[in-house]
């Protein structure tokens, strides 16, 4: 059970926030940050643990969002069922895209390109098809009842997204301790060597893509329930592809808490930039770009990785200091 304790502490700490403040600004900030953390955790499963960098996770975010919205608007399906269906649809999209790309043997840049292209194709189709509301988008009917997955209080929404993030943290933790997780990391470190040792690398990557897509799709489903609106530039736009990869990279790819920490940092930077410039767009994303380059340049393992390295270096120094002190007292 080692490793679950930090998750419990972090989640309990975050769950206590509504007790301290009911401020809409704070809660709204945290809801959006946790939503991005969830999307980022999805990316982290495939990109962080598996080393397959997708530049098109919008494909899953958007598929989840649209499925939830379409089922409610056109088919009158209950929102909770729609939510589950959205996650399932996202996972299916992951299976299709992952199956095609990994079976074709696409790696690194090629994989990044093909995921990007899939997201773009979906965006173009969503912006012309009538079922997705074409250029207008889809509006969910306001119905503030828990059975419609809509809540009067922002604090409830916050606890719902926190529960989803907690589940994603536990999934990452379970992955780290499982045989499957070990295969996935082996594929990241050296795919040919992993194959030589009998790991079915293609199957491992496809399964990772399905899990990854399902988690990111859950973020998309939540987006729809929270904002009650979706259109093609939101659902399949590059913004979400970029934020989904940015958060784990900044926080620490291939770590349990990387995406969560990265999302809080990225969103704080974004809010800071907005505070400085007001309504002029661009500065927030501009800083994201700069932070991405800086992190790759100076802290390629992200904040968590850098912290772990620093702690280990410190521990080593303490040990060597103790040794020298012992040596000095003996001598």
């Amino acid at each position: 059970m080692r490793g679950l304790l930090p998750i419990a502490v972090v989640v309990a700490g975050l769950a206590a926030v509504p007790l301290a403040t009911q401020s809409n600004v704070v809660l709204n900030f945290l809801v959006v940050a946790l939503m991005i953390a969830l999307a980022g955790q999805g990316w982290n499963i495939l990109g962080g643990y598996g080393g397959q960098y997708s530049f098109g996770h919008a494909a899953f975010f958007g598929t989840g969002a649209y499925t939830t919205a379409i089922l409610q608007v056109h088919c009158d399906v209950n929102a909770w069922l729609g939510f589950l269906a959205g996650i399932a649809a996202g996972a299916a999209a992951g299976a299709v895209i992952g199956g095609l790309a990994f079976r074709a043997g696409l790696r690194s840049s090629y994989f990044a390109l093909v995921t990007l292209a899939f997201a773009e194709v979906l965006r173009i189709f969503a912006s012309v098809a009538s079922i997705t509301g074409a250029g207008v988008g889809l509006l969910i009917k306001l119905d503030l009842h828990p059975q419609a997955f809509q809540f009067r209080s922002r604090a409830i929404f916050y606890l719902v997204i926190l529960a989803l993030v907690a589940a994603s943290l536990i999934i990452a933790h379970a992955l780290e301790r499982s045989r499957f997780g070990a295969w996935l990391v082996a594929v990241r470190e050296n795919e040919d060597a992993a194959r030589a040792l009998g790991v079915d690398a293609t199957a491992v990557k496809v399964v990772a893509m399905v899990i990854s897509a399902a988690i990111t799709a859950a973020a998309g489903c939540f987006y729809v329930q929270y904002f009650l609106f979706v259109d093609a530039p939101i659902a399949y736009g590059t913004w979400i592809s970029i934020e989904a990869l940015l958060t784990p990279i900044i926080g620490g790819a291939g770590t349990v808490f990387g995406a969560l920490i990265g999302a809080l940092v990225v969103k704080s930077i974004g809010e800071g930039a907005k505070f400085v410039t007001g309504d002029i767009p661009g500065l927030d994303l501009m800083t994201f770009g700069a932070v991405l380059v800086l992190v790759i340049g100076f802290a390629p393992r992200g904040l968590v990785g850098t912290f772990v390295d620093a702690r280990e270096a410190l521990a080593r120094r303490v040990v060597s200091m103790r040794k020298s002190v012992r040596g000095a007292t003996r001598g």
Binding site: F55, L100, S109, V114, F118, S127, V128, G282, L283, M286
Partner: protein
């Protein structure tokens, strides 16, 4: 409805548009062929170059075709510095890191442009922008004919550089065998940066050719670059003739696709070709091995 003159006109238009696509793709494929990275910042650099060409005309009254001689060296220098002092040191040769760094640079440049110039779409009015000549059953705008010719001049100049200068030979040596080139005394980071500079200069030239008939906004370059990716993949990553031929093929496909299915679905068609080529034959039709 689909009479021959309309079809021919669509094909001629596709060829002319394709020439500029080919130029953008040329820069991309060159960078890939030597540095083995997909430069995700290519589109943002094109947007930046479009803005530069726009303001050169708007503020200084410089004709885009003259601005070309200023912007191409300027962007060569910019690209050189970008690779030498930012992308190269930050990525330390790791392929995944390079992907992310070029993406970061793309986000940075695009949003810096958005912040500085807002999302407004701008165009320039040249006196000769709407002059046309009669070519094979159809009327063609003069600026597009000029760009068609310039692309061939640039491609020829590049071929000359690659085959007959020492720098060109060094670039080809690094592309073929990096370690060997390094052992032979070639300064690899310098050659990388020069290649990146040439690729960026191609983008600047493309911007000067585009601005008379096209528009500029902070994401104007992206449309071209996704198409350029398609061309590069179609023609084979790192293959220069592949980029040229691929450019014309995609230009015609887009023109005919838009003609039969409407413009936005024509775009989707390009991406579907892209995905299909990646999945079926990732080395491209001209098979330059990566």
């Amino acid at each position: 409805m689909f009479s021959a003159p309309i079809l021919i006109s669509a094909i001629v238009n596709g060829l002319l548009t394709g020439s500029v696509y080919a130029l953008v793709a040329l820069g991309l494929t060159l960078i890939y062929g030597v540095l083995h990275i997909i430069n995700f910042a290519h589109g943002a650099l094109l947007s930046a170059a479009l803005f530069a060409a726009f303001f050169a005309y708007q503020k200084a009254g410089l004709d885009p075709y003259l601005a070309l001689f200023l912007l191409a060296p300027a962007f060569f220098g910019f690209g050189y510095g970008l690779q030498r002092y930012l992308i190269g040191p930050a990525a330390r040769g790791d392929e995944r890191a390079m992907l992310l760094v070029t993406l970061g640079v793309a986000v940075l440049i695009e949003n810096a442009l958005l912040y500085a110039f807002r999302a407004d779409t701008r165009t320039i009015d040249l006196p000769y922008a709407f002059k046309t000549v009669d070519v094979a059953f159809t009327f063609v705008a003069v600026p597009r004919l000029i760009s068609f010719a310039v692309v061939f001049v640039v491609a020829f100049a590049l071929w000359l550089i690659m085959t007959s200068t020492d720098t060109g030979k060094a670039i080809r040596a690094v592309a073929k065998e990096k370690l060997g080139a390094e052992l032979a005394g070639i300064d690899v980071p310098h050659i990388y940066a020069i290649t990146f500079g040439i690729g960026t200069a191609c983008v600047a030239i493309a911007a000067c050719l585009l601005i008379p008939t096209y528009y500029v906004n902070p994401s104007a370059g992206n449309a071209f670059v996704l198409i350029a990716f398609t061309i590069v993949v179609l023609g084979g990553m790192g293959s220069v003739p592949g980029a040229l031929i691929g450019g014309f093929v995609i230009g015609i496909v887009e023109s005919l696709g838009g003609f039969f299915f409407g413009e936005s679905l024509g775009q989707a068609g390009i991406f579907l070709i892209f995905i299909a080529v990646l999945l079926v034959r990732p080395r491209g039709l001209f098979g330059a091995s990566a």
